[in-house]
Symmetry: C2
Subunit: 199 residues, 2 copies
C-alpha cells in the first residue's frame, strides 16, 4: 500500500473484514470501486447508509425488513398454518429462493450451543411458542442445519411445542441433488440409507 | 430474498458487482454488515464516501492519492534516479509491499493491446517521456506482466526511451519462489533456462 492514501488504507481494512474477502481481494475490490466511482462506489456508499438506517428485524418473525411487520408476515396468502423455523435470515432467503414454501417463517437468531453458551433465552423461542399458541398453526417445519447444534435445537423445539397441537416436522436428510456417493460423508450416506424409500 | 427488503436487494446487487464476490457471497456479506451495523456497516459507508470524494490520480505518476502529488512523488528520499513502470496501482502496491524498491513509480493505466485497441495515446506514456527527460532519471525499471501485451508494451517503452540516456531494465523472469517445475508452464521453464546463472 502506498505511504499516503490513508483513505484508501482505511477502506481496504474495512472491506477485508467482510466474509469471503481477504486483504488481497479487498485491495482488488477497492481498486475496482475507485475505477467505477459514479456507477458503483457512490451508489454502494448510499445503499449501505440507507440499509443501515432503515432495515430492522420484523417483530413477529425476526426477518430483516424496512417495514415492520415484514412483507411475508403482512401477506394474508402466507397464513397457511405452516411456520418454517430457520436459524438465520440467510436460511430464510435460501428457502424463499426455492419458491417451494408458501407459509410464514420464524427466525431463531442462532442455535442452542453448550459450547458457545447459547441457551433458549438467547433465541427467539418464547415468541415462537406465543405464535404457535396465538396464530392458527397446523405445522412447524424445522429447517435447521444438520449439525449437532442444529439437531439439539430441533429436539428442544419439538419438546417445547409438544403440547401445542401443532405437528413438528423437519427437512429430510439424504443424498443432495447431483451428489456422488464417493464424495459424500459417511453421516449423510448413513442417514440416506436409514431414510430409504420404496421406488 | 424476501419479497420486501428493497434496500437489502439493492445492496446485495451492488455488492455482487465487486470482483471476487458472487450473488451468494454478496448476500453473506450483507447479512454480516447488517449484524455489525455500528462497527462495520456505517464506517464502511463513510469510508466509501470519503474515498470517492478525496482520492484522485497523482498528476506526476498516476498513483491514487488524496494529496496531489502523492506522498511517493513528494518524498525527496524517493528521488533515487530510478522509476519503476507498472501497469496499474495494484502493481504499485504489490511492489511497495515487498519494500525492495526505494525509487519512484509511473503508473501506465493499462497496456498496449491490438486486440482491445489500446494504443500509446491511451496510456500515460507522454508523461513518462517528459519525466525521464525532465527529472534526473538513471534507470527505468519495467515491472509489467509477463504476457504478450505486457512484453509488447515493454518493448515499445524501451524504443521510446532509447535516446533518453536512461537505462531501461525489466524484472527477471524465472522460477517463482517455492515453484515446483512439475507445476510450471513451459514458457516459464524455457525463460528460466535461457536466463540461467552460475552458482
Amino acid at each position: 500500500m502506498a505511504a499516503d492514501g490513508q483513505e484508501i488504507e482505511a477502506l481496504v481494512a474495512l472491506m477485508a473484514r467482510l466474509p469471503g474477502l481477504g486483504p488481497r481481494s479487498a485491495r482488488r475490490a477497492v481498486l475496482h470501486l475507485l475505477k467505477k466511482r459514479r456507477q458503483l462506489m457512490e451508489p454502494l456508499a448510499e445503499a449501505l447508509r440507507n440499509a443501515a438506517e432503515s432495515v430492522r428485524e420484523c417483530s413477529l418473525c425476526g426477518n430483516l425488513t424496512a417495514a415492520d411487520p415484514c412483507a411475508l408476515c403482512r401477506n394474508p396468502a402466507r397464513a397457511t398454518g405452516e411456520i418454517c423455523v430457520v436459524e438465520d435470515v440467510g436460511g430464510l432467503w435460501a428457502m424463499e429462493r426455492t419458491g417451494g414454501f408458501r407459509g410464514r417463517y420464524h427466525v431463531l437468531g442462532g442455535l442452542l450451543s453448550a459450547l458457545d453458551r447459547i441457551g433458549p433465552e438467547e433465541l427467539r423461542l418464547p415468541r415462537l411458542l406465543a405464535r404457535v399458541s396465538g396464530e392458527d398453526v397446523r405445522e412447524v417445519i424445522l429447517a435447521l442445519p444438520a449439525t449437532v447444534d442444529g439437531q439439539t435445537t430441533a429436539h428442544y423445539i419439538a419438546d417445547l411445542l409438544s403440547g401445542s397441537g401443532a405437528a413438528v416436522t423437519t427437512l429430510a436428510q439424504g443424498v443432495p441433488m447431483g451428489g456422488d456417493l464417493d464424495y459424500l460423508d459417511d453421516g449423510t450416506i448413513t442417514a440416506a440409507l436409514r431414510a430409504r424409500r420404496r421406488l
